[in-house]
Symmetry: C2
């Protein structure tokens, strides 16, 4: 009887679906190893913010269910709300058809924006 190889058993679940680790490996990261990640409030649909993730930030986000980004300005991982308390509890993670964008459905505690507005787009309409 064939025994599934460790590689296979790690990357495909019992129903043959691609696991998140496979999906991460297939992502089209940019030259800096990053993809944009959109955070959306799961129930209201508000687009809260866009930040960036490398593969490890996405792994941590999935493992901890706390949105974790790569801060391009600080050059470090950044658990959203670590300082402000304004965490994002992750309900689901999806990727787009080209595998170069991540969409998080989250429960946002407090303001998503460091300026204190609910979303990073609130009050910033230009047209």
């Amino acid at each position: 009887m064939a025994v599934p190889s460790p590689e296979r058993s790690e990357s495909v679940d019992v129903e043959g679906r691609q696991t998140s680790e496979d999906a991460i490996a297939d992502l089209a990261f940019n030259a800096e190893g990053l993809v944009p990640a959109i955070a959306q409030q799961h129930d209201t649909g508000e687009v809260l913010m866009l930040a960036w993730m490398d593969a490890e930030a996405l792994r941590r986000t999935i493992a901890t269910r706390k949105a974790t980004y790569w801060s391009r300005s600080r050059g470090e991982y950044w658990v959203k709300g670590e300082t402000s308390g304004h965490h994002q509890a992750v309900k689901s993670v999806s990727i787009d058809c080209d595998g170069d964008t991540v969409l998080l459905q989250v429960e946002q505690t407090g303001a998503a924006c460091h300026t204190g507005t609910r979303t990073c787009f609130t009050g910033r309409q230009i047209a």
Copy 2:
């Protein structure tokens, strides 16, 4: 009596609000001159897709109210729906707190995704 300079009258409206051209000039484009643009269905809140815009794509989007992106793969402007008929009628344009992301509220005709799914994230949940 002071006559407003053409520069000023072009960039600030009668109530002194920043015009879209000023806002575009202030955007933090990346090294390729692009910013990510999120298209969201205005009434349901669905995040439809993420694409890229340079300053001119954003100007055309605002002027025509048809979402217009820069295709990185084809190296050309791309009016969404030009080929498929799946246009995005633009209801509003907002920018984020850092001026490096655009959010469009649109009325999407048909499928947003070239694969035929309603959004580019539909059926692509990984966690």
